[in-house]
């Protein structure tokens, strides 16, 4: 009896230890970035696990740089536009793929799935040409266009999954009421799909906000860069003189909105990720 209780206690302690380790593992890097960003540059190279005195000079440095502010503005413009475009095109496509059977439907689904597996590098030179032809090189427009390559497929997939779950009779009722497909989609389905659209939009936003390769390749000047590129390209005189304080401050600035979104919408994100993947 006592042996069993002892075993139970040990197991319980072990479990909580495991939880603690996982928590530290997940959070510590971000926490450490926060700690670093709040140190004055004089203390930067002394390792410490917490902040003794809060110092915002790194933030002041970053936020006084016009290029960083421009990068934030560009990132917001790009991410929001990408979300809106992906949702609009995704919603109509999802209605077609989720609720109508027609010849070629499976082919379209396979194309969408195929595009979602594209390595971005594979289209880099061709896309570069397209963007230059459309005169979108070194502008947010080029990024908005190119980001649809990865946001649109999964938006379509997830919304199709949700669209299929809506009852058939609801659509038939709308047909009997004389609703056209467009009216059915906008007046009947869209109001019911808001949660799914929020989820998908959030995932698209995160993906667009975080994208690096296209942003690096299709922009040239500081004023047109997005946040990830701006952070990656912050540099000092040499590798050993990297301004770690401002880099960490910038990292925290661009990550905090995401972390807040994720914590608030974690349930939605989880459901969206699984809906997008289960189709596999």
């Amino acid at each position: 009896m006592t042996l069993r209780t002892l075993k139970g206690i040990v197991l319980k302690i072990g479990f909580w230890l495991l939880v603690a380790v996982l928590m530290v593992y997940a959070i510590f890097p971000f926490y450490y970035a926060l700690v670093t960003s709040l140190k004055p540059s004089s203390e930067l190279f002394q390792v410490s696990y917490w902040v003794d005195s809060v110092d915002f000079s790194n933030y002041a440095t970053v936020l006084s740089q016009p290029t960083f502010l421009a990068a934030i503005r560009n990132s917001v413009i790009v991410a929001v536009s990408v979300v809106l475009i992906a949702l609009l095109l995704g919603l109509t496509a999802a209605w077609a793929l989720g609720r109508v059977r027609f010849r070629g439907r499976t082919t379209v689904m396979m194309i969408v799935l195929g595009v979602s597996m594209f390595p971005q590098v594979a289209v880099l030179s061709g896309l570069f040409e397209v963007i230059r032809t459309l005169d979108l090189y070194n502008s947010p427009g080029g990024l908005i266009l190119s980001y649809t390559i990865f946001t649109l497929p999964f938006t379509v997939w997830i919304l199709t999954t949700f669209m299929r779950q809506l009852p058939d009779e609801l659509e038939e009722a709308a047909i009997v009421d004389g609703a056209s497909p467009w009216v059915t989609l906008t007046k009947v389905f869209m109001p019911l799909l808001w949660p799914a659209m929020a989820t998908t939009g959030l995932l698209a936003f995160i993906a667009a906000w975080n994208e690096f390769l296209f942003a690096l390749t299709f922009t040239l000047t500081d004023s047109q860069r997005t946040v990830p590129v701006a952070i990656a390209l912050i540099s000092g005189g040499s590798q050993y003189e990297l301004p770690w304080g401002p880099i960490m401050a910038a990292s925290v600035i661009v990550t905090v909105p995401l972390v807040v979104l994720v914590v608030i919408f974690q349930r939605r994100i989880v459901s969206g990720l699984t809906a997008g993947a289960v189709k596999g």
């Binding site: 009722a173 009997v176 009421d177």
Partner: protein
Amino acid sequence: MAGVKLERVNKRFGSTRVIDDVSMAIGDGEFVVFVGPSGCGKSTLLRLIAGLESITNGDLLIDEQRVNNLTPQERGIGMVFQSYALYPHMSVYQNIAFGLKLAKTDKQTVDERVRQTARILQLDGLLERLPKALSGGQRQRVAIGRAMAREPKILLFDEPLSNLDAALRVQTRNEIAGLHKRLGSTMIYVTHDQVEAMTLADRIVVLNAGHVEQIGTPQELYERPASRFVAGFIGSPRMNFIHVEARTGNDRGCRINVPGVGERDLPQQLPADAVGERLELGVRPEHLHLTPAAQGEGVEVVNVEYLGSEAYLYLQMADGELLVCRTEAPSRFERGERVTLDFDADKVHLFDGEGRALPVADAARRSDRHSEQAPT
């Protein structure tokens, strides 16, 4: 308001024939119920009329006009769905008004119609509520209201009561019957429940495996079923079927041998060359007569169900078949007792090998033969 005519309507899903050469005419203002076991095609037939499914071949006419290629709205139908299918994000008012607004009706007319519909269905106080805040019966009424607000020529109901509990079902059934009387519009109603069919219908269409078994008034169907299928489907408890052998037969009647009962003369016409064939005798539970039998004779009462106003007796035949007999309650017999069976010869049905009912010789001859018949 309008009549509906189906002319040799067929529906196939791939190579599966779901609706097989169905023809019928539904009169203006008639209440017709499609009934049949699940999978018989009754819902498909309704959806063909609604325009939610395409007709493979054959013609559908509404008001003498071929409507095969018209949309549901152009056909002028309203439909009540099994799951209600109310728009969850719209209030009762918006649900009812949706179709009217799409038809570009002016605002004032929409409002009048919605309020009038709500009054008829006693939804007046609920107009601003969302469907989720309504009870099952109220949702059902909203669904009906939505279907009738556009004043369609024909109202279609697809198993509208199957999601309601038993008490509410009876109540809503009565409301629908009242509504039909009040509106006088043509209604087509699908159900698998023969009680609903019997109580609501002017005429019933019994469907089986995609074809029409019989069309008729409830009374016709009950008293003169055209086939063994209809006979077994309509009526509760179910009609009893006993395998019998024909002894003699002509166009005035026949004589059959019923196991455990003996030879009986029946008014059904039987071609002489059918003598000796195996037939099936159909006897409704209320047409079985029981008399006490001595030990070792007759058949055994294996169960007695007391229902208050009446009682059902279950009898075990020699070949293992169970017969059910409806008697007054309390029953004169108890479980384990033995009884002798008999039946009213002019109330029974006779079915040939294909399950078709044999026709009854006309009434004059029938009374004729009655007097000849020797008492047993």
